[in-house]
Symmetry: C2
Subunit: 155 residues, 2 copies
């Protein structure tokens, strides 16, 4: 969200996440970084995004600690910046998988699944689910949402 | 995303989801619906969102099949609309939980967790994780992202 969140929204972890990632393109930049892209030209060509917008979005993702800027230089070329996911950025993998999972089910296309998540040890396809502290899967319709200690409002 | 996605992006389930939910406020409206809000005034007061913006966002969520509009009438009052999550809307629970989970870890506040997800059968706190077809949890760093049959680009 481009404007400053209200004090109530600052208490909400969903609002705090979307404050950083709610700007158009930000989530797709992270998606492409998770796919292994690091160079400005790769992001620009992969997304079809104007250079000035991409520059601004990359800078805000660096500021937010999601991407880390490094320098590289190819022979005969000037020094350039590359962009690498930090630990915080890599931790977005499951959130993006959850976004993809909803889209695959509720906005399917005739072309089939666009993104697969595979266990590199077993090659099994994985999905995103609620699990309890014993790693037992809990069906989503059995999960209730309740205000935590940091919530300003009750519901 | 307000503008039409490119044909490449239409193939991507993340882009298709964000096409619907990327507009500012949309995810917070769904969050409040998951908390049980149904009335226009509840959303408006809960979010501090201008009425005209809220009207537009509710309409687009109804068009997308995430919310369903119903009529209700309280004694002595005119007929009004209420907004209820469809099955597709309720299925966003896990995506919003994943968004909240990242925010709790990477954008913590001094106030503590804002949103708890509880197993209604055991009262255990649940979280979002990758699981394989046998419901075994797979650590996120063991999960690789690969293009599926519907992907237009390879990576």
């Amino acid at each position: 969200m481009p404007t400053a969140p209200s004090p109530t929204e600052l208490r909400c972890s969903i609002a705090r996440t979307m404050e950083i990632l709610g700007a158009k393109w930000s989530i797709l930049i992270v998606r492409n970084a998770l796919r292994g892209m690091t160079k400005f030209s790769e992001f620009r060509d992969g997304l079809g995004i104007p250079s000035d917008v991409l520059t601004a979005r990359l800078a805000s993702l660096v500021d937010a600690g999601i991407l880390e800027r490094r320098s590289y230089k190819e022979p005969g070329d000037r020094q350039r910046s590359s962009y690498h996911l930090t630990e915080s950025g890599r931790d977005l993998k499951i959130m993006l998988a959850a976004i993809a999972q909803w889209g695959e089910v509720h906005r399917p296309t005739e072309f089939g699944t666009s993104t697969l998540h595979l266990d590199t040890e077993t090659a099994a396809q994985v999905h995103v689910a609620f699990v309890d502290p014993d790693d037992e899967v809990v069906p989503a319709d059995r999960v209730a949402i309740r205000p935590g200690p940091g919530a300003l409002t009750r519901w």
